[in-house]
């Protein structure tokens, strides 16, 4: 791929990106969230059309206008979110679109199952072709995705953040599979933002930053530090200057909390923690290890199985969202567009989202829009929300200003406990710095802050105390200086506690 350019409204996702993959190599595409890795691969796979540049396959220039063309050219892709149909069998999923046929028209289920079983045996996949996809583990589902590519005779395989959803054991199995595939002469493009795994599996590494190619290096000679520098473009990681925490009373206590998700799977398994006034407790962990369920349980959005949640001395184990809010919980949700804001509402209406039924906004069921607007005016000024007035639709604001709006609302309620989930996701550096400063300031105001983030860097720089969540359990607790490696290991279930 040479000189690939792709623009989206307001952003250049790929700017003159070039890289090449050799036969029989694992080539990693490394970059932070938003560096343009997935966009690049979607172009290669025919899902997006590039605005410029050219793609050459085996020396010949190609242009794909659909996934089908890319598949026919021998490109396979394992998407971050699996493209599998849960209610169909493994074999059906694998052959879909390129089905074996008997007697001219009928689907040859037996041939399909046999081909899949053969493949599974060759590559040691341990997947039952007759099983329904919804019944097998995430790791196995990923293998089904790989088989889909193999079945279509792909010789270039793209894996988009393949380890994000895997347990360490599953990840290690995946690496074994990738080694086998490489030996078979397959070219593998491995997209990741994790330094350690890139160094473990890749032959060569191309680093992307803000839509541009930074460098392509061989694994030999590359170090985590050198790659990190290329990735983020600076030596020093973002650090927040913050004074020592002056902690007070315990405001949030969680005891032996168990939570099941909507499908009945236990996602939080016996979490106990407490957060004191004036401290930031960070929860580190790989996505999907129970963070969302923990947050939802604390904020009354999800029923808890057992255990106790206490906020400022008030027992709130089985309380509604309303009761949790009234007890003094503030919550910056992980997805501001899906949950944090009603995008169709005005700024004023969004600011009233928690307290729309309380004076002065309302009295005995009557709403006073004028007062809502007044309050909005004050907060817009105080929190420097730009892009509109109280009656502007929240959906019309930029991401950073939307997040400021959420933060303004949560902080203005003067919560005792503030839960901040992924507070800087998708924001630019300026907005991130603002939010980080603000969180520290609120800590110094004496609030208890629980920070949940997938960005380890953010956890490290903000937290006074760090808890590591792995498969629904707290597997590590750290105060003071701690290395990224230690926590990283624990996040993947490799910590002492998990071993013991």
């Amino acid at each position: 791929m040479r000189g690939i350019r792709k623009e989206f409204p307001g952003v250049v996702a790929n700017d003159e990106v070039s890289f090449e993959v050799r036969r029989g190599e694992v080539h990693a595409l490394l970059g932070e969230n938003g560096a343009g890795k997935s966009t690049l691969m979607n172009i290669l796979y025919g899902l997006y059309r590039p605005d410029g540049g050219e793609i050459r396959l085996n020396g010949k220039p190609v242009s794909f206008s659909s996934a089908r063309e890319a598949i026919n050219a021998g490109i396979g892709m394992v998407h971050q979110h699996f493209m599998l149909i849960p209610v169909m069998t493994v074999a059906e999923n694998v052959v879909l679109g390129t089905e074996p046929v008997r007697e001219g028209v009928l689907l040859d289920e037996r041939a399909a199952a046999r081909r899949v079983a053969d493949m599974a045996k060759t590559f040691n996949f341990a997947v039952d072709p007759e099983a329904l996809v919804e019944d097998i583990s995430v790791g196995q589902q990923q293998r089904v995705e790989i088989m889909k590519a193999l079945y279509r005779n792909a010789d270039v395989l793209i894996l988009d953040e393949p380890t994000a959803v895997l347990t360490p054991q599953e990840a290690s199995d995946l690496f074994d599979i990738l080694q086998t595939l490489r030996q078979e002469g397959m070219s593998i493009i491995f997209i990741s933002h994790k330094l350690n795994e890139v160094l473990e599996i890749a032959d060569r590494i191309t680093v992307l930053r803000r839509g541009k190619t930074i460098e392509t290096v061989s694994r030999h000679g590359a170090t985590e530090a050198s790659l990190a520098r290329a990735m983020v473009g600076r030596d020093v990681l973002l650090r927040v200057d913050k004074p020592q925490a002056a902690t007070g009373d315990v405001l949030l206590t969680v005891q032996d909390l168990h939570v099941r998700d909507d499908r009945g799977i236990e996602k939080v398994r016996g979490v106990s923690l407490d957060v004191r006034a004036g401290e930031i407790v960070g929860i580190a962990g790989v996505d999907g290890n129970g963070q969302s369920e923990l947050i939802d349980a604390l904020t009354g959005l999800q029923k808890i199985e057992s255990g106790a949640v206490t906020i400022a001395g008030r027992e709130l184990s089985h309380a509604s969202a309303r009761a949790a809010l009234d007890a003094g919980i503030g919550h910056i949700p992980e997805d501001r567009q899906r949950r944090g804001l009603v995008l169709e509402f005005s700024i004023a209406e969004n600011i009233a989202l928690h307290d729309y039924a309380k004076p002065p906004t309302a009295r005995s069921g009557w709403l006073f829009p004028g007062r809502m607007v007044q309050r909005a005016k004050t907060l817009i000024k105080e929190f420097d929300v730009r892009g509109g007035g109280p009656l502007t639709r929240a959906g019309g604001l930029s991401g950073g200003n939307q997040q400021k709006l959420v933060v303004a609302r949560e902080i203005d309620r003067d919560p005792k406990v503030l839960i901040a989930a992924q507070p800087t996701r998708g924001l630019d550096v300026g907005a991130i710095e603002y939010l980080h400063r603000r969180l520290v300031a609120e800590r110094d105001e004496g609030r208890a802050i629980l920070l949940i983030s997938l960005e380890l860097e953010e956890i490290l720089s903000l937290s006074d105390r760090i808890l590591v969540l792995f498969e629904g359990e707290i597997v590590g607790e750290h105060t003071g200086e701690v290395s990224e490696e230690t926590i990283g290991l624990e996040m993947l279930g490799g910590g002492e506690k998990a071993v013991a």
């Binding site: 089908r68 169909m88 879909l96 679109g97």
Partner: protein, 412 residues
């Protein structure tokens, strides 16, 4: 943990949703239906045993489509047996029931079921590909009118069939364009289709036929005479006569409908195209990434559903009951019963067909029972809707629509 403790730990609601419970309950209900008719209760009307019997059979169909085949068919059998026993028991006391329960009831059940089967299977194709089709009623109505028109002007029922399918498909194409291409809300679009069909058929009915309902000499859909069976025995007795009355003289579309059920099952579950259709209804993005053209599949399925619904419609006007007569808004909710049958049958051909037969049976009974109690007849008309409402309520097991049903798909 052994199974017994596992059962104990299951909450009651979960056990109620278990198809096994449903099936067992169905069998019990069937027994109860029979029990009602015999001493000591000895229900004076046959309504209650039949009502309970039908509900039992419905539970059975339900259970079958949720995977517990043997138990489910058991419940169906128990329900039918209950009805039979109930009839037998009350028959001795009430003389005029004899006219209600004979072989023609079977024929009428099949007759009433025919349009429902076509509509339900049509709707199933559409929804399996991911497009909700509540416009079935309208597409059916179009078939009813334009079918007569085609048969009249073309001089043959075969022309009528083709015209009906063509017009039904055309209306479906319009709907498909709005639902798929313009990504309009599918419920709104389907509602519009229903309005349009009432207006268009009503308008042209007056324009072309001056509101005159009967057209003598229109070529009608032929009936199929099964060789060896007496069509209209003078003094029916014995099994052969019974069979003759029941299935000896059915419309060609009734047989076609039964064949369609089998064909639909094969296409949907045994061919590559069926696999692709289901993929589009479950996860269109996944289908797209393996190179399946979601739009083409969905267009095809929606148009097919329009054509099939129109066939159901032409049966109403050109079939044995219709006699080449079109009446303003003559479908009168049958498209919605077809939709209900599809939902009740859990988006499966056999289930939808079984539900259509059951609903057809209750319509046939409604007609028969009018002879001696009109209000009882009406009661049976409500039954399909009540059963479907209970079904979607999910108190007795879950109705599982295709995951992407009703969601427009936008290519990236």
């Amino acid at each position: 943990m052994n199974t017994w403790t596992a059962r104990l730990e299951n909450p009651l609601s979960a056990r109620l949703r278990d198809p096994a419970t449903t099936g067992a309950f169905g069998i019990l209900l069937g027994a109860f239906a029979a029990f009602l008719a015999i001493p000591p209760i000895e229900a004076r009307t046959v309504t209650w045993p039949i009502l309970f019997g039908i509900v039992a059979a419905a539970l059975g169909i339900w259970t079958v489509t949720r995977g517990r085949r043997r138990l489910g068919w058991g419940a169906v059998a128990a329900g039918l047996l209950g009805i039979g026993l109930g009839i037998l028991a009350t028959r001795s006391s009430t003389g005029n029931l004899e006219s209600a329960f004979d072989a023609t009831l079977v024929a009428q059940t099949l007759g009433f079921s025919t349009p429902l089967v076509f509509g339900a299977i049509g709707g199933m194709f559409s929804e399996r590909s991911g497009v909700v089709n509540i416009g079935l009623e309208g597409m059916m109505l179009m078939g009813a009118f334009w079918g007569v028109y085609g048969a009249d002007k073309g001089g043959s029922w075969a022309v009528g069939l083709l015209v009906a399918m063509g017009v039904g498909g055309l209306l479906a194409l319009v709907y498909a364009f709005f639902a798929i291409h313009l990504r309009a809300d599918q419920i709104v679009g389907g509602t519009a289709v229903n309005f349009l069909a009432v207006g268009i058929t009503g308008y042209f009915f007056i324009e072309l036929y001056n509101n005159n309902p009967i057209h003598n000499g229109v070529s009608l859909l032929p009936n199929v005479h099964v060789p060896g069976l007496p069509v209209n025995p003078d003094n029916p007795h014995g099994f052969v006569d019974f069979l003759g009355q029941a299935v000896g003289d059915l419309s060609i579309l009734t047989w076609a409908g039964l064949a369609l059920v089998i064909l639909a099952y094969v296409v949907l579950f045994k061919t590559p195209i069926g696999l692709r259709i289901r993929a589009c209804g479950e996860h269109p993005r996944a289908a797209d990434t393996v190179g399946i053209n979601v739009y083409v599949i969905r267009y095809g399925c929606v148009i097919l559903s329009g054509m099939l619904a129109a066939l159901g419609g032409i049966y109403l006007s050109e079939g044995p009951q219709g006699n080449g007569t079109f009446i303003f808004n003559m479908t009168n909710g049958r498209g919605f019963i077809a939709l209900a049958a599809m939902i009740f049958g859990n988006w499966r051909p056999a289930g939808a067909a079984a539900a259509a037969l059951l609903f057809g049976f209750s319509s046939a009974l409604a007609l028969k029972l009018q002879v001696y109690s009109q209000s009882a007849g009406t009661l049976f008309q409500i039954l399909p809707y009540v059963l479907t409402l209970i079904a979607v309520a999910g108190v007795i097991g879950r109705t599982v629509a295709p995951a992407a049903d009703g969601k427009p798909y936008a290519k990236q």
